[in-house]
C-alpha cells in the first residue's frame, strides 16, 4: 500500500511538471501576442491621427478669398464655415485614399470658432495575429485641428 501510493505520487509529479512548463509557455506567448497587438493598436491610431491631421490642415484652408477680413491691427483673418470644412474633408478623404486603414469614416468635421478646422475620424482596428487573447477588434477615433495663420 505505501509502495502504491508512492508510485502514484511520482506519476502526478511527472504530469504536473509538463503541464507547468506548457502553461508557462502559453502565458509567455499570450504576453508576447498582447504586447504586439498593443503596438499595432498604437500604430494604427497614429496613422488615423496623421490622416486626420492632413484632412484638418487642408480644411483649414477651405475658405474663399472673399471670406478673409482685415482686422483693425492689420492682420488677415479667414472665416471658415462648417459646410466648407465638411466638404473639404470628405473630398480629401476620397481622393487621398485611406491607404492602409480600413473603414475610415468622418465622425465630425466642423469649425468651433470660425478660424480653426476640427476633423474627427473613426476606423476599425483588428489585431494582426491570433485574436484569441484580445477582442475581435476595436473602434479607434482621432481628432485633429488646424488653423491658417497669416502674417
Amino acid at each position: 500500500m505505501p509502495g502504491r501510493r508512492r508510485h502514484l505520487d511520482v506519476g502526478e509529479e511527472d504530469g504536473s511538471t509538463m503541464l507547468l512548463t506548457i502553461g508557462f509557455a502559453v502565458v509567455a506567448l499570450a504576453v508576447v501576442l498582447v504586447g504586439s497587438a498593443a503596438t499595432s493598436l498604437y500604430v494604427e491610431h497614429k496613422r488615423l491621427l496623421d490622416l486626420a491631421d492632413r484632412l484638418a490642415a487642408t480644411a483649414a484652408e477651405s475658405f474663399s478669398i472673399d471670406d478673409v477680413t482685415i482686422q483693425p491691427d492689420g492682420t488677415f483673418r479667414p472665416v471658415l464655415d462648417d459646410d466648407s470644412v465638411r466638404s473639404s474633408a470628405r473630398d480629401d478623404l476620397i481622393t487621398g485614399g485611406a491607404s492602409a486603414l480600413t473603414g475610415v469614416e468622418i465622425v465630425a468635421a466642423r469649425t468651433p470658432d470660425g478660424r480653426s478646422a476640427e476633423v474627427s475620424l473613426a476606423s476599425d482596428w483588428r489585431p494582426p495575429m491570433l485574436t484569441l487573447f484580445v477582442p475581435q477588434g476595436l473602434r479607434i477615433e482621432a481628432t485633429a485641428s488646424a488653423r491658417s495663420v497669416f502674417w
Partner: protein
C-alpha cells in the same frame, strides 16, 4: 535474514522514485528549452520589427510636414533626410537598410506646388536576427511608413519663378 529482505523490498521504490525525479527535471529542461527558445526569438524579432514600424511611421510623418513647410525643394529634402536620421537614431537602426521616397501631387510637376500634396514613404528592411544567409539572401521583413501632408494654397516657394 527475513527482516533484511523485508527492508530491501521496502527500499526498492526509492531508487525508481529518484530516477523519475531526475527524468522529470530533465524533461522540464528539454521541454522548457524547446518552448522557451522560440518564444525568446519571437520577442527579439518582434521588437526589431516594431522598432522599425515606429521609426518608419514617425519619420514619414515628421518628414512630410517639414517638407510641406519648407521654403524650397532642397531645404525640404534636407529636412526629410534629417528627420529620417533622427528617427533611425532613436530606435538604433541602420541608415543603409532604409530608403525614403517623395511622391508629389499633382504628378508631373516639380514638388511643392500650391495646393498640392507631398507623400513621404519610408521603407526599412528589418534583417531578422541570427538568420543565416541562404544563397546570398537574408531573411528580412520589409516595413513601410507613408504619410501625406498637404501643401498650403499660399505656399510661395515658386513665387520668384512666376
Amino acid at each position: 535474514m527475513r527482516s533484511s529482505r523485508h527492508s530491501s523490498d521496502e527500499l526498492r521504490p526509492r531508487p525508481t522514485a529518484r530516477d523519475d525525479d531526475g527524468s522529470a527535471s530533465l524533461e522540464f529542461i528539454t521541454v522548457g528549452l524547446v518552448l522557451l527558445v522560440p518564444i525568446v526569438y519571437l520577442v527579439v524579432a518582434l521588437a526589431e520589427v516594431q522598432a522599425a514600424v515606429l521609426a518608419a511611421g514617425g519619420a514619414a510623418a515628421q518628414a512630410a510636414k517639414l517638407y510641406a513647410r519648407a521654403d524650397d525643394d532642397a531645404t525640404g529634402r534636407d529636412r526629410v533626410e534629417d528627420s529620417l536620421a533622427l528617427a533611425l537614431d532613436d530606435f538604433g537602426l541602420d541608415r543603409s537598410q532604409s530608403s525614403v521616397t517623395l511622391d508629389c501631387a499633382p504628378a508631373g510637376l516639380p514638388c511643392g506646388q500650391r495646393g498640392g500634396a507631398v507623400t513621404v514613404t519610408v521603407d526599412i528592411l528589418v534583417v531578422l536576427p541570427l538568420m543565416p544567409e541562404i544563397l546570398g539572401v537574408q531573411a528580412a521583413v520589409p516595413v513601410t511608413g507613408a504619410v501625406t501632408a498637404p501643401i498650403s494654397r499660399f505656399d510661395d516657394r515658386f513665387s520668384e519663378a512666376e
